[in-house]
Symmetry: C2
Subunit: 426 residues, 2 copies
């Protein structure tokens, strides 16, 4: 029988252990900010994504089909539209600001490659309510805290930050379709490289527009105020970005932040702040994750507008980032015990095993009395157990259990009532 | 915008909290038996289920479609074939016995109703290796320990146990197709009721066969030995079931066990032990979950046979069982704090919030300085926060933070360095 469906993964226990460790760190940081976990259906009507999500996803990547009841459905390719639907459905009931997160699986029909699979898991964290610099700063701060909680330091990653409104206002006199094409091209710039980007740009735009786009790409954070005064960009944007930057500086996080007008992000629903976390490893210079502000999506779902900002952090790129730096690499310690059962004391041993489990001790028991003791010990060791327990006729008569510590080789006889503290102490 | 896709659920934070609590209990019991968690792709080729899973699932219930690469795929309707594929692919590498569990979501196109949805989550626990009574007993014991870990007691549920081989050997001279029809009918018996069952039975079988089926249904555990000697049933089955029962008795679990020849289970791959956990609540007398032994499925997947026994425990029926008895109903205690920020001390407050989070304290901060303090306190209380923190100009000058305990109304001034221990102590 073959392996998993193309672009998806079988998670064997050792893979699952890594995934669980990764999600445990994420959960703990999200919870420390007061974010509440939610979850949602795997399928949504395809209309939930149409003209809200990204064109590329809806047209080329979503897994869609007609169900047995003739409904056009999609396996979720992202969480944001679902989250917006859920918050919108509760309307005014939810206490604001709404701080939500989820970790779920998604599917996109892509060519599998480094950092890209067809099924992936993703953290989504969103903050809904005020559209203040404080809200944007909190979302960026949450992302920084997640990455540093794994052990990442300055120089490991950088949040490249911009605002969706900058580009549109800077080339406002350009035809809308051309603007969109250039936007898509900017989004691919990192992937295709500067040379190919310039070449395609010259095919898409005339000479003055090519210059305009290149001058846009060289804008620095400190230029924004002046450009705003001259009416070349949306004047509010510069002040907002500076305020966000100030709040993060106050928390000692400015070294993780860099203004970069070349950031675009592929989702149609972004309306303000947009950002990407970039891996600074020269061999793996790619976006670990991205996000942005979407102040109009909730209004499209229901009757009320509700400003929102958030990000998605996928497990494939995150795992690559973590593994390339040796984060979460600690082997798990040997733990628990393997209880070898003998026919003459089976029932008493099973009773002790049952009591130990209730006391929080991991206990595996043998299932075939005929297998040799040496072989069972070997299997216990390979499985990562710390102790082997045995109670033969002699131990049964003396009311003790023989405990062999596989780490030291020491053997001790322990009374059943002392076992759990003995084993937990090790 | 509408609610979730028919037969699926939105998990708002309060729903998610219940689901997480439920899975935490399950995980902890599985881990205490040394079961290792694994996970697997959402999609599988449809061929993985054909002629292995249940006909009803493959023909009527599975969500299947052709992907953009012309592959016939299915959203997994169950985990067992995937698990068998994964274990089979690793062949002899895995140390035996293999003790595995997973908690994942599945989809089946069913008419949604009480205890039945189109998307559900399910624990799958499997033990692969020896086909001994000890292995069967361990799987049953694991299931009993999970249900009792929630607080269930004798009289709350019953494991009804039988063996797939009993019926086939008891009616061995019957035409194979008729035997299959009666098998399917037995599987529906609980659902359609005794009267409808007898009526359909008379339509399916002639007079002597009707009597034979009814006499089968009245077989008791103690009859098995004699029936085996007379060659009316597979002689090995009785001895095996008695041995399983003995092992569970030794652990004081016999009160949860009942032999019931009427148990059939719909999956084609079962070859021996079959069982269901039945809710004994008279208003909700239904199967909470079921499982059985499948000794030939691994051989169908790869070159090596590997005996296996396991069960699936779905979240929809389990939640019903738990809620009807008030298990896991404890409201979560108020926790963490809400830090109201003031413009004059924003940066210092954010720094303290950041330090508190690193010390394990849940801290939400305000995002709009203009909102009235009374209103913010109210929101903090509704969100389940225990404390409100404030540092105005006065506190800033004195180097303290004002801490209001929302449970008692007490206010104290605490030095930033003492805050985490002060808040964690409460």
């Amino acid at each position: 029988m073959a392996g998993p469906y193309v672009g998806t993964r079988d998670f064997y226990p050792e893979d699952m252990q890594f995934r669980n460790a990764m999600f445990a760190v994420i959960r703990s940081v999200c919870e420390s900010y007061g974010y509440l976990e939610y979850s949602a259906p795997l399928l949504e009507p395809i209309s939930l994504y149409q003209s809200k999500s990204s064109e590329e996803i809806v047209n080329d990547q979503v897994y869609r089909f007609t169900d047995r009841g003739d409904r056009e459905v999609a396996i979720r390719p992202e969480m944001t539209p679902t989250m917006a639907r859920m918050v919108s459905a509760r309307g005014m009931e939810l206490i604001r600001p709404v701080r939500w997160y989820s970790i779920a699986n998604f599917m996109r029909y892509e060519r599998p490659g480094k950092g890209r699979l067809r099924e992936f898991y993703q953290l989504n964290a969103d903050l809904l309510g005020p559209a203040t610099p404080a809200a944007d700063a909190e979302i960026l701060s949450l992302l920084i805290d997640i990455l540093t909680a794994f052990g990442a330091k300055q120089g490991d990653f950088l949040l490249r930050v911009s605002d969706r409104r900058l580009f549109d206002s800077y080339v406002q006199h350009t035809d809308k379709e051309v603007r969109r094409s250039i936007g898509r091209l900017l989004d691919k710039r990192e992937k295709i490289g500067e040379e190919a980007f310039q070449e395609e740009l010259r095919r898409t735009a005339d000479g003055p527009l090519v210059d305009r786009v290149n001058s846009f790409l060289s804008i620095r954070l400190e230029d924004l105020e002046k450009l705003g005064q001259k009416g070349e960009i949306d004047a509010a944007v510069g002040g907002h970005l500076s305020a966000v930057s100030d709040i993060l500086s106050a928390q000692g996080k400015s070294a993780f932040l860099s203004f970069d007008p070349g950031i675009v992000r592929g989702f149609d629903y972004y309306t303000g702040l947009i950002f990407e976390a970039q891996d600074l490893n020269p061999e793996n210079r790619r976006a670990i994750c991205g996000g942005g502000r979407f102040d109009r999506l909730l209004g499209q779902m229901g009757k009320n507008e509700l400003p929102a900002v958030g990000f998605g952090l996928g497990d494939v790129t995150l795992e690559q980032f973590l593994r390339s730096r040796g984060f979460l690499a600690d082997a798990s310690p040997k733990k628990g015990c393997f209880f070898i059962l003998f026919p003459e004391s089976r029932d008493a041993s099973l009773k002790i095993a049952s009591d130990l489990r209730k006391a929080g001790v991991l206990v595996e028991t043998s299932l075939e009395p005929s297998v040799k003791i040496g072989k069972q010990m070997e299997a216990a060791d390979k499985k990562g157990r710390r102790f082997v327990l045995m109670m033969g006729g002699d131990e049964l008569a003396r009311g003790v259990v023989r405990v062999k510590d596989l780490a030291t080789g020491d053997q001790t006889d322990v009374k059943p009532s002392d076992l759990s503290s003995h084993l937990n102490r090790a």
